[in-house]
């Protein structure tokens, strides 16, 4: 039995509704001064399960993974970001307050997804090789780690910028948060480097050029330089204020986010000019 596109979209609508609830729960927790990690994590688990079913159903129906269209990119990234944040927060408690940031962001992506056409196009035969998998998976790991670092950095920025009790309570252990931010940012740099290499190998096999300076490749290089640059900046300016470091992490994520989701405004599929 094959899942219909209509049912897939219903699963997505329920997931988006759950993300709206997660956002409300987080804001309610912030206002009431209560830790809402457990209920929000439960909602995230529900979102991951529903989107996992939607992706699997789509995969079986279309006979290919979620690689090609902007709908595929949004769907698979909401799934991977929610799953990764859930897993990271389970092991690194310092990032848990970041759910106040990730929940509205995932809700935004989910709302965007509901407005995008879900029609699939077949993946050209030349693109279908194992390096595509490595490229896509390492990209999702990168964005997941970078989101966790950024969400924690935003919480730290808000916590440090205010003397209000609610905000300072957001990051109860600044030292652990600080360590988590840079550990996650560093591992995201490793994953991004691997994504670049795997992407070059895949591109050479798919359309004959390991590097073509298309908008996505150019902005991916800019993101990589920013990741490396921010780590170098911390080494160069050792007395750099903590807040500036966090702001640079956030700016890097914004560039990465626009690269992942903004380039489709230039072309409707990744590397469209070469497809």
């Amino acid at each position: 039995m094959v899942m219909s596109l209509a049912f897939e979209r219903q699963l997505i609508l329920v997931s988006v509704a759950l993300l709206a609830v997660a956002t409300l729960v987080q804001f309610a927790g912030f206002i009431l001064g209560r830790n809402m990690y457990r209920p929000t994590a439960g909602i995230y688990a529900g979102v991951v399960a529903l989107l996992g079913i939607a992706i699997t159903g789509r995969w079986v129906r279309e006979g290919q993974g979620p690689f090609l269209t902007f709908y595929d990119i949004l769907l698979s990234n909401i799934f991977s970001l929610a799953l990764m944040f859930l897993l990271i927060s389970a092991f690194v408690s310092a990032v848990r307050p970041g759910m106040l940031v990730t929940s509205p962001l995932l809700l935004l992506l989910g709302t965007w997804l509901t407005r995008v056409s879900g029609l699939a196009g077949p993946l050209p035969g030349a693109f279908d090789n194992s390096w595509l998998w490595v490229h896509v998976l390492s990209g999702k790991l990168f964005l997941g780690f970078c989101l966790a670092a950024t969400a924690t950095a935003i919480v730290m920025l808000a916590s440090n910028a205010s003397s209000g009790e609610r905000l300072t309570r957001l990051a109860p252990d600044p030292e652990r948060c600080e360590r988590a931010i840079w550990a996650l940012f560093f591992i995201s740099f490793v994953c991004h480097s691997f994504m670049l290499v795997a992407g070059a190998v895949w591109a050479h096999s798919a359309w004959g050029h390991f590097w073509s300076w298309d908008p996505l490749e150019t902005w991916t290089l800019v993101t990589w330089l920013m990741l490396g640059g921010v780590l170098h900046a911390r080494a160069t300016f050792r007395k750099m204020p903590q807040g500036l470091g966090h702001a640079l992490v956030c700016i890097t994520f914004v560039v990465a986010f626009l690269t992942f989701f903004g380039v489709p405004f230039v072309s409707i599929a990744p590397h469209k000019g070469l497809m």
Partner: protein, 338 residues
């Protein structure tokens, strides 16, 4: 000398190089007048900076992961440089039943140090099959070649989207570019006969316009239009490109504007001679490239990533977190602080 090297090894210079590279990459790709060649400037700065840092920065002696990462990065740069100097990229179309002709190769890029050995390539085109899904979505390509291997033997290989052939050191990859060719026999006024293939425009990309201009051996230009009796490509169903057993005719228009139809095996008189339609064939487009340092670039990049991973493991994984708190932390100590 050492103080000069230390100045070149400055981390501030690294940052400047990275910012320049990011800015110039964006500007160069968006502005054709500037071009991406401008990124060579920050790349040279970064290579000099990295070399100087490897020679002078003591932190590399205490942090193996960082050393491996930066050596890997330097090797990537070296491979990029050698690739630019030695590379070759060209295109060629070969008709089924015919052989590779070096004179038909169109060079796209050739590095300054490239030793052109294209004349050593010898292969003959066999059967071509390209599968399409509805919506003209190209799937697998199967193009069979017979080529002369380095040992001198003739070998057969089927290349496609994920398989290439390496002949005389050059890599040949089948491209999306392929089409039909008309096999024509020309008999001049002196009775001399010439057999050749006229390549029609790429198919199915230009299935709506299978027209080309042909200069006859007598020096007159005629327009040839390939006219299929029934549609060959199908936008709504799966089909396979490569079949030449198709009812068709060729419309031949001379300079006088008169149009004549030419079926398989028929001949017509043209200015200066007679042309006979000998049949339909397919041609296949190939990309020829020579990138000897590409595999080494991959190895160097993986070495750099391995170095980064080593450094991460040393700094952040629980077992090494206390061991890393050395008083000798250097300029890269930021990683230990977090």
């Amino acid at each position: 000398m050492m103080s000069l090297l230390k100045k070149f090894a400055s981390l501030r210079l690294t940052l400047l190089g990275m910012i320049m590279l990011a800015v110039l990459a964006v500007i160069g790709t968006r502005n054709a007048a500037i071009g991406v060649g401008v990124t060579v400037i920050p790349l040279v700065i970064l290579v000099v900076n990295l070399l100087a840092a490897l020679l002078t920065n003591r932190s590399f002696r205490t942090q193996a992961g960082l050393l491996v990462f930066h050596i890997g990065l330097l090797l990537v740069f070296a491979c990029i440089g050698l690739t630019v100097l030695l590379r070759y990229e060209g295109r060629v179309e070969v008709v089924a039943g015919g052989g590779f002709n070096v004179g038909q190769v169109e060079t796209v890029e050739q590095g300054w140090w490239h030793d052109n050995r294209l004349a050593e390539i010898e292969f003959y085109q066999g059967e071509v099959q390209v599968d399409y899904l509805p919506g003209l979505n190209r799937q697998n390509t199967h193009s069979t070649l017979e080529y002369r291997a380095a040992s001198g033997d003739m070998r057969r290989i089927t290349v496609g989207d994920t398989r290439t052939a390496t002949i005389a050191g050059y890599q040949l990859a089948a491209t999306f570019n392929k089409g039909y060719a008309l096999l024509l026999q020309w008999t001049g006024a002196d009775g001399e006969t010439v057999l050749g293939a006229v390549h029609m425009p790429s198919f199915p990309e230009f299935d709506w316009n299978q027209v080309t201009t042909w200069s006859t051996p007598a020096g007159h230009q005629v327009e040839l239009e390939l006219d299929f009796a029934e549609p060959v490509s199908d936008d709504r169903a799966s089909w396979t490109f490569g079949n030449t057993d198709i009812p068709y005719s060729v419309n031949v228009s001379g300079a006088d504007g008169a149009q004549r139809s030419l079926r398989n095996g028929e001949s017509i008189e043209l200015a200066g001679g007679q042309v006979r339609n000998m049949g339909l064939a397919v041609w296949m487009g190939y990309r020829i490239e020579y990138l000897p340092f590409l595999p080494w670039m991959f190895v160097a990049a993986m070495l750099a990533i391995a170095g980064l991973s080593m450094h991460y493991a040393r700094r952040y994984l629980p077992k090494s977190s206390t061991a890393g708190a050395s008083a000798k932390e250097d300029a890269y100590g930021h990683v230990a602080r977090v």
